[in-house]
Structure formats: C-alpha cells, structure tokens
C-alpha cells in the first residue's frame, strides 16, 4: 500500500517528465533538428492506439471472453498490411492539401463543405466522449486501488460520492492542464506538434515495458511459465469457455475485426498521429509492420495475466479490469504495481492528450471559426492578430472535451466494463469510414451522399448504443431497452427490427453501417455533384497523379488579389513571423519579388489558402481567401456547370493534343529559325568579304607602287569606290532587313498615287536600262484611286524589282514592261522581263534571303540577294501581296499589289 501523496507526486513527476520531453522535442524542432523524424518514433506514436482500454481492459475482456479481445488488435494489423496502399494515400492527400484533421479531410473531399466539417466534428466530439471517460475511469480506479487495496476485495467506488471528493475530477483537470500545455503551447497555431509526438512515443515505450514487466512477473514469478498457468486454468471447469471461441459468435468476431480495422484510421487521434503528424510518408513503410509488432508484444501476456488473475483471486470479487495492478499488489510487489500504474497512466494520458488536441483543432477549425466567419464577428476588415483567438478557442475546447468526458463518466459510472465503453466510441468513429475510404477511391462520392450517410449512421449509432447506455445508468427509463420506446417492441435499441442474437456492438455496427453506406451510395449515385465537388474528388482520388507546384491547375481562383492583402490576412491568422517565413520561402522558390508584384496570381492565392488551411482548416481558409480575392473571385458553379464532366474531359484532352502539336510546330519553327540564322551569318560574312578583299587588293597595289600610271590608278580607284558602294548597300540592306524583322521600321503610312510613283521609280533606272539596250514600255492606268502605304518603301520595292529585271537582261538586252492596273485586291504592279526566267522549283525560294547570292557565283556582282526579301516584307507589311510568274526561256513577271485607301 502506497501513501496517496507519494502516488500523487510520482504521477505529477511523470507528467512533468513528459512535458520536458515534449518541450525538448519542440525546441529541437524549432531549431530544425527534428527528433521525431524517423519511422520508429512514428510507429511508437501510432501506438497511442493502445489506451488504458488495452492496458487494463484487455485483461478484463480476456478474463470473461478468452481470445475475444484479439480482433481489436488483429484489425489494425490487417489495415496496416494495406497501409502502403491506403494510409499512404490519405497521408499524401493530407500533406498536399494541408489537411489538419479528420473533419477537415472529409469537408475538403466533399467540396470544402462547412456543413460536413461541422457534422464530423460533432460526431467525433460525442463519439469520443465515452472513450475519454474510459480513460478517466481507468486512471482514477487504478489510483484508488493503488492507495487503498490491501489484499481483500474492493469495489471501485469512483462514480459514487460527491464530485469534489472524486479522484476522476482531479485527474480530468490535471489532464486538461497538461493537454493545453502540450497542444497549444505555440503562439502560432500550427497543425503539427513534434514535442507531443515525442512524448507520446515515450509513453508508448513506458506502457509496453510496464505491461511486459507485469506479464513476466505473473507468468514466471507467480506461476511457473505459461504452460503452468494454462494447465492450472484448464482444471477449473468455470474457465473452460475461455479456451475456446464458441461463446463468441462469428458475427461478433468479424464485427470487432472490422470495427478495429477502420477505427485505426478513422479515430480522430489515430488520424492525428498517423496522418497529420506524419513527417514523411516513407516512414509508413516500416510502420506497416512495426506498429502491428507493437500490438503483438503488448498483447502477448494478456491471456497469462487474465488466467493468472482468475486463478489467484479465485472466488474473491475483483474486477478483472484491475488485474494488472491487483496481482503485483497482492503478491506484495508494490514497486511493480507502481510501475504498472505509471504504465496505465501513460496509456490514458497519451490517448487523452492526442484525442483532445485532435478534436479541439476540429472544434476551432471546423465548428467555431466557420460560425464566426459566417456571422461576421471577426471584423475581417480590421487588421489585428487573430492567431491568439485561434489558440484561445482551442484551449477552451480542450477543457470542454475533457469535462464532457468526465460528465459521461459520472453518468455512466460502473455500469460498463472498459472495453465496452471503448467499443461505443469505435462504432462512432467507424461512421467516418464510408466517407473517407469511399472518398479516396471512388470519384463518384458526393457531398449529399456523405452528409446523409453520416447523419443516418450517427443517428442509428446514437439510438442503438448511446441512448441505451443512458438508460442502463438509470438516467432515462430502463424500459427503453427492455420494452422499446413507447412500448414499440420492434424499435428496441438492442434488437432493432427484431434483429437478435448479436451483441450490442455488432448489432449497432450492422445497422449503422447499413444505413450509412446505403445512403452514401444511394445519394452519391443519384445526385449531381457541384463543380467544386468534382474537382476535389479528382484531386483526392488521383492524388498520386498530381504534380503540384506552380502552374498547377486550379480553375477555382480566377480573380486577383493584392499581395499585401493576402500577406496581412495570413499574418492575422497564423502569426506574423510564420506568415513572413512562408511567403519569403515561396517567393524564393518561385523567383518572385513580392514587393514588386502588386497582384497575386492564382498560384499565390492558392498558396495562401493552404497556409491558412494549416492553421484553421480548408473550409474556413477558403472563405477567408475569398474575402480578399477581388473581381471574379469564386465563379465556380456558373463557370463549370455549363460543361458536363465528360465533355470537359474530352475537351481537355483535345486541348492537350492541340497544345502538343502547336508546341511541336513551334519547336520545329524555332529550329528552322536557328538554322537560318546560322546560314544568314555565314552568307553575310561571305558577302562582306568579297568587296572587302577587292578593296584591300587594289589599295595595296596602289600603296606598294607609287609610280603606277594615272590611268591605271583611276581605274583601280573606280573599282574601290564601286566595291565600297556595294558594301554600303549591303550593310544598308542588312540593316533594313533587321529593322523589318524586329518590327522597328519607321513606317510613314499615307495615301499616294501609285502610277506616278512607278513612273518615278522607273525613271531612276532609265539610264541603266539604256546602257543595257533594254526597251522600256510603261502601261500606267490613268485614273487609279490612291493607294495606302509608305511611299518611300514602295519606291524602294519598285526600283529593286526594275533593277533586278535590268540585271537579268543586262547582257542579252530585251524589253522591260511596267504595268500598273486595277484589280479587286487593289492596285497591281507588274514588272515583266524577257530574261532567262526562273525554274518552277525556285519560284518560292526566290524571296528567301541571299537566294540570288547563292545562284550568282559567276553572275551579276551587284546583287546581294536581300532585295526581294526586303521587298516581300515591305509589301506584306502594307497588306499587299508579292509573287512571281515565270517561264524558263520566256521571262519573268514580278507582281505586287497594294490596297486602295477605300478597300478594307
């Protein structure tokens, strides 16, 4: 027997140690050295699954039902064999969309719905209430036993007596205080609590060691090995049933297995440690077997302890739930009993801390904040820091949850065994399963399906499990159970519609799952999801296909927001420093300077939404961000409802295909351009070199021989001048071309008379034509309307074309015909020669740069092959058309058109 003050101080000391570990973990995390970032801590933190239900209750269950306690641990083992497939998907979704709780998860999946988030929160709160009361009951019972038990029978008296002398009340208050310290120590309201995870992992080690220590003590000190225990037990006829599973209906076994399987994911606290607190999804690979191994280890001695207790205490009336403590005490091993008490305390505190933190996050993010946002009490227009408000809400929620658990404990008292109370909570958590698992694998699940399924399942759960538990404790008429409400037998909560032969839990599970899954499927299949729901469904179901990052497709933020507004919004909810850090990192990663860009693009808006979601949940974050996004904002429904999903997908793929071909074409064009640039450079260098070489040669001759006669000198100088001319022309043309191509040409658009210009142009080369014995014939339409264009440039084009014609006929002579006439397109200028003509295959190449240069190895030295190219660019810029008609041996006709002033 231990002094109460001693037990009390050991307990407080242990809690302080936990707090120190959490503090250490947090401070390490703040400095960037995470002590929890490894698969072993992750697996240990998952072991928060084992609460005092496991620690004390399993033995109690085994003492009355043999292996009947095992499905609760085999279920999670099965779920974790699927873990890499199922849980990893949930983790990936939650990480990608900054999901903070199970309510947030379900709300986000079904169109970021506040209604669902709030509903899940309420179900979780009510559903978990029995579970927390179980922990309080276990801790206060174990404390009472430790300080009062002397070897004779005692009956735990916790639920009787006044509230003020009740151990459980003080346990509750103490736990609330510690949970607040653990979970809401940070000024900034974040979703991860590394310190808490470290403490939980430590607790998992302690409870495992304590339980195994008791197991070894019972098995090998009190008895002579497991064989001895079972042999002794088998001689007692009253224990015979425990060796078989005949008394366990198959339905019950299956039911419990299913319940535990889904609970290990759907319980708020398991979601918290397994998904939200997960640091790296690869840790899950080891956890898929480490966590089941932990469950295996902690269950190994349950049967020996249960049997040992039953044998040792024989006929004495001792609650089997307390064997873990009672055996060491009755054997006089007080220190081991104290250790076991600490182990049980670990199991209970771990559960209470994580569960209340998880639910308080849900209450603040999915219940209170949305309500405040809705009634507009937050004064979003005022700039003030609201992260304190968030923390305040969470702290109040923690106290509220624990006190709620305490009131349930006072109400229910000792009417149920530990395990039965826990299973009630499991059944509540199982209501989330259809929405969660359906939501991540089936795109068709809709908001209304999930909502109606959850409500229906929850009502059935409350009616078949919660209500009867009140009835049993005498809070409402017991006749509800025995006679049915208002004497309607068919509605008896434990035998709904006459379904009998199942235990309460399996019975409730069957009915609630039936209506839950049924409604979920029925309303999903027969309803039309909104665009946002469809989008979220795709994002969740296909999470492994998403490559998130900038430019990620989110059609839902089309409006623009001021960067300042976004930053100040984030600062108010997540705290200044964290918001600053987040935005700085974002800017750095995307090479943006947030000071210089005034409006945020969709990606930055989305980033802000995620940042806020981390602190207060997806649904609330969405409303907040919508409050600062201006203009179009969220125009989801109107925009999307026009197009049905299917057509949208098809359209999408078409667009993709189109974009792909366009890209391919652009790429080819670029390659071609690149090749042309190289060619252009090499040609132009070549073209520059020829005149330069000849200038240099002749000047060198004159320099070397001062006595050269004056005629020769004159001749050489003529050549030098001519070549320099050519160089100038070439450079001018190249400059023209460059200007044309870079659109920097200075155009002087005006109306002018084209025949007059043609006449002017032809006159300028008249002399040359006469020298080459070329006859000129002009056919200029007299009353042509004025054309629109750049007079100087068109003159350049005409001179160019005429001198080209002159060049091809220079040696042979011939006739040059210049015609200006009227067509539908506008004015048409035709310049016809009877030179050698152009081959068919060259016709389209002739306007290429340097085309002629390539052809004229021995030909005319005057042309550089840029003239036609420039002419083409000029004419096309002026909305005209230029082309050539030609026949080999007959001649060529170069034609171009220009629009009249009155043609469009």
């Amino acid at each position: 027997m231990l002094a109460p003050w001693f037990v009390f101080f050991v307990s407080i000391g242990y809690l302080c140690l936990l707090f120190a570990i959490a503090y250490y973990g947090d401070s390490k995390a703040d400095r960037g050295h995470s002590i929890v970032r490894n698969p072993y801590i992750y697996s240990l933190s998952l072991a928060v699954y084992c609460t005092s239900w496991t620690f004390y209750g399993s033995v109690g269950r085994a003492a009355s039902g043999g292996v009947g306690f095992l499905p609760i641990y085999l279920g999670p083992t099965l779920m974790f064999t699927l873990g890499w497939f199922v849980i990893r998907k949930i983790i990936r979704i939650s990480k990608t969309y900054n999901i903070t709780s199970i309510a947030d998860f379900i709300a986000s999946r079904y169109g970021k719905s506040h209604l669902l988030g709030g509903l899940v929160t309420i179900i979780a709160l009510i559903g978990i209430m029995p579970y927390i009361s179980l922990q309080l009951k276990a801790v206060s019972n174990s404390y009472d036993i430790l300080v009062r038990y002397g070897g004779e029978a005692i009956v735990a008296t916790s639920a009787s007596g006044s509230v003020l002398t009740d151990t459980a009340l003080y346990v509750a208050l103490l736990l609330a205080a510690f949970t607040i310290l653990f979970g809401t120590r940070h000024i900034d309201a974040t979703e991860q609590h590394q310190g808490m995870v470290a403490a939980i992992a430590f607790e998992s080690i302690i409870k495992l060691m304590a339980f195994i220590a008791v197991g070894l003590f019972v098995t090998f000190t009190v008895f002579d090995g497991p064989g001895d225990i079972f042999l002794q037990a088998s001689t007692r006829p009253e224990l015979e049933t425990l060796f078989t599973m005949d008394h366990l209906g198959d339905g019950q076994w299956w039911g419990l297995m299913f319940l535990a399987m889904v609970a290990v994911v759907c319980l708020p606290r398991q979601f918290q440690v397994g998904v939200v607190e997960n640091m790296d999804e690869n840790h899950l690979a080891k956890a898929t077997w480490l966590f089941p191994l932990y469950l295996f280890a902690i269950n190994l001695f349950v049967l020996p302890i249960a049997m040992g207790g039953l044998i040792s205490f024989g006929g004495i009336n001792i609650n089997a739930d307390t064997f873990v403590l009672a055996i060491p005490i009755s054997e006089g091993n007080t220190w081991l009993a104290l250790f076991a008490f600490i182990g049980g305390l670990s199991a209970a505190t771990g559960m209470v801390i994580v569960a209340t933190i998880a639910i308080s996050t849900m209450i603040s993010n999915d219940l209170v904040m949305p309500l405040l946002l809705r009634v507009g009490q937050l004064h979003l227009s005022e700039k003030k820091d609201l992260s304190g408000l968030l923390l305040g809400i969470r702290r109040a929620a923690i106290v509220f949850i624990i006190l709620l658990g305490y009131s349930y404990f006072r109400l229910i008292g000792d009417s149920y065994a530990l395990v039965t109370i826990g299973l009630v909570s499991f059944a509540a958590a199982a209501q989330f399963a259809p929405s969660i698992f359906g939501g991540i694998f089936w795109r068709g699940g809709t908001h209304s399906g999930a909502l109606i399924g959850l409500v229906a399942g929850f009502i059935v759960w409350a009616y078949t499990l919660m209500l009867p538990s009140f009835a049993r404790s005498g809070w409402i008429e017991e006749s509800l159970i025995t006679m049915g409400p208002f004497g309607i037998e068919i509605l008896k909560p434990y035998a709904l519609f006459g379904l009998e032969g199942l235990d309460n839990i399996t019975h409730a599970l069957f009915w609630s799952m039936l209506v839950n899954i049924g409604c979920y499927l029925f309303f999903s299949i027969n309803g039309t999801p909104s665009a946002l729901e469809r989008n979220q469904a795709t994002l969740f179901v296909e999470v492994f296909r998403q490559r998130s990052g900038r430019g990620e497709s989110d059609v839902f933020w089309r409006g623009h927001a001021a960067v300042d507004d976004l930053i100040s919004l984030a600062e108010r909810f997540v705290g200044k420093s964290r918001a600053q850090r987040g935005f700085t990192a974002y800017a750095r990663e995307n090479n943006l300077n947030l000071q210089t860009i005034p409006t945020a693009d969709a990606d930055l808006v989305k980033f802000t939404e995620r940042l806020l979601a981390g602190a207060m949940g997806g649904a609330s974050a969405r409303i907040l961000v919508a409050s600062v996004v201006k203009g179009e904002g969220v125009r989801v429904d109107e925009m999307m409802e026009i197009v049905d999903e299917a057509t949208q997908v098809i359209e999408y793929s078409h667009e993709l295909e189109k974009a792909h071909t366009e890209l391919k074409k652009a790429n080819e064009q670029l390659k071609e351009l690149d090749r042309m640039k190289d060619e252009f450079l090499s040609t132009i260098t070549h073209e520059l070199r020829t005149p330069l070489t000849s200038i240099r040669a002749f000047t060198e001759i004159m320099q070397a021989d001062p006595n050269i006669d004056s005629d020769r000198r004159q001749e050489f100088l003529d050549i030098v001048v001519k070549e320099a001319d050519r160089l100038t022309r070439l450079v001018n043309q190249v400059l023209d071309l460059a200007k044309l191509e870079s659109q920097r040409f200075d155009w002087q658009i005006e109306a002018f008379d084209l025949p007059e210009l043609a006449l002017d142009g032809t006159r300028r080369v008249e002399q040359l034509l006469e020298q080459s014995r070329i006859a000129l014939s002009l056919n200029l339409s007299p009353d042509l309307p004025p054309v629109l264009g750049d007079k100087d440039k068109i003159l350049q084009v005409i001179i160019n074309l005429v001198s080209n014609a002159q060049k091809v006929m220079e040696t042979t002579g011939g006739t040059l015909d210049v015609t200006v006439s009227k067509t539908e397109e506008g004015a048409l200028v035709t310049i016809t020669d009877n030179g050698p003509g152009i081959a068919e295959e060259d016709k389209h190449k002739i306007f290429d740069r340097f085309y002629q240069a390539r052809q004229q190895e021995s030909g005319n030295p005057m042309g550089v092959g840029l003239g036609l190219s420039i002419s083409q660019k000029i004419v096309e810029h002026l909305n005209g058309r230029i082309w050539v008609e030609s026949e080999l041996g007959v001649g060529s006709a170069f034609c171009f058109t220009l629009p009249f002033t009155d043609t469009k």
Binding site: G32, L82, T96, W254, E281, R545
Partner: protein
C-alpha cells in the same frame, strides 16, 4: 499511374491472407479440438499468435523494398516547400 504493381498486389494479397487466417471459418479449425495444446498452451492461442507474427514478418519482408514505388511516384513539392515554414 506510375505506381508499380508488385507492392500493391502483394499488399492486397497479404491483407486477404490475414483476413482468412484471423477469421472464422478458418479459425474454427483450431477451435475444434478443445483439449489440443502445445507445451500446455491451448492450440487456439498458439495458432493466433503464431499466425499473427508470421503475417507481421511477411509484411516486414514486403515493406523492406518499397524503394521502387518511392522513386517512381512524383515528389511532393508542396510538402517540401512547407516543411520548414509551415509545418
């Protein structure tokens, strides 16, 4: 989907194996003979715990080489981005 097959199929295979091992009617085989025991420990108990540890072992062996699936999945830039600042 870039995820490799083996892990997913093995996962489901092990799950089904566990489902069969741990549940009636298969379980009833070991419940049939009430007196059967090994080292005085009832056969049903032995069976459940042995089957359990074997399943855990198989899961561990399968999980030991998930590298292929890890590398083939796209990275999670969002998560990486947030790690230092938001989480």
């Amino acid at each position: 989907m870039p995820r490799p097959g083996p892990t997913k199929e093995k996962t489901i295979g092990l799950f089904l194996l566990g489902l069969i091992l741990f549940n009636p009617p298969f379980l009833n085989i070991f419940n049939a003979d009430k007196q059967a025991s090994i080292f005085d420990i009832p056969l049903l108990y032995i069976y459940l715990f042995v089957a359990w540890i074997v399943l855990i072992f198989l899961v561990a062996v399968t999980a030991a080489k998930p590298s292929a699936s890890v590398s083939l999945d796209p990275p999670i830039p969002q998560k990486e981005r947030h790690k230092g600042d938001i989480t």
